[in-house]
């Protein structure tokens, strides 16, 4: 799977399905199970159908809203790279301590 053509082309895997969605949606829009299943199914179909190594196959799907102008802009949207576990929710850390006992 890929939503970043140039990065995938550089890594050069044997088969790739390209989904032209904003990063963070490689397998579809949230709560659209039918779309997600179609995307995954199309990716798996390449196992048998691919004939040329390194080909990236674009899926004809378009994100419903304009998003590329903002996503193509410069700037650093990353958060600080801390070296301690970064929990999604604070209570997750407690769940780890409990499962350690």
């Amino acid at each position: 799977m890929s939503s970043a053509w140039s990065i995938t082309a550089s890594a050069n895997p044997p088969r790739s399905l390209f989904v032209d969605y904003p990063l963070g949606h490689t397998t579809g829009r949230p709560n659209h199970l039918v779309e997600q299943t179609g995307i995954v199914s199309s990716a798996l179909a390449l196992i048998a159908s691919a004939t040329e190594p390194g080909r990236i196959v674009p899926l004809p799907l378009a994100w419903p809203d304009e998003w590329k102008n903002q996503a193509a802009g410069l700037g650093d949207g990353r958060s600080e790279r801390l070296d301690t576990p970064q929990y999604d929710r604070p209570e997750d850390e407690q769940a780890v301590r409990q499962s350690d006992r």
Partner: protein, 168 residues
């Protein structure tokens, strides 16, 4: 030769964008992994409907009860049961917008679609576990020496016929 994007798709070139962004910030140029030749195309040995599929996802997914990823070249992996409840999935990543992944982890960890494809007979089965990690690892050396061997060992032990790689 790697595959160039057709012009009409107007895709965002994230490598060029990162280069320009780093330049503007005064950072040294980021060195992307570059493989001039594609990996070999290995023909499937059986139809998809009889194949065991493994999911490997780099979006920083973990399961409640597991330690979250840290964000400074964390090369560890998590084994997430393919029977996992969606409500037990969590996301830890420093470099993409997690809003939609938090509301529905299937956007970067397509476990419900894969379970659907098993139930309708399109694929044979899933491995007992999916493998996850946090893809924002800037050291290619640590990737090759730490992450890849562990992923490879875990995958070999589960003996899938097909591996679906889902990066973010």
């Amino acid at each position: 030769m790697s595959d160039a994007a057709p012009d009409e798709l107007n895709v965002i070139d994230y490598i060029a964008q990162t280069r320009a962004s780093y330049d503007q910030l005064g950072y040294d140029a980021y060195r992307w992994a570059a493989e001039p030749e594609p990996s070999a195309l290995v023909a499937p040995v059986k139809p998809l409907s009889e194949s065991k599929v493994a999911l490997v996802a780099s979006g920083g997914i973990y399961e409640v009860g597991q330690a979250a990823f840290h964000h400074r070249d964390d090369t560890s992996i998590r084994r997430v049961s393919t029977d996992v409840e969606i409500s037990d999935l969590r996301i830890s990543h420093f470099a993409y917008d997690r809003t939609d992944a938090r509301s529905d982890p299937n956007v970067v960890f397509p476990i419900d679609p894969l379970r659907d494809l098993v139930s309708t007979g399109k694929i044979g089965s899933l491995t007992s576990h999916a493998l996850t990690f946090m893809g924002g690892i800037y050291s290619q050396r640590r990737l090759r020496e730490e992450l890849i061997p562990e992923l490879s060992n875990e995958l070999s032990a589960m003996a899938p016929d097909v591996v679906l790689l889902v990066p973010v």
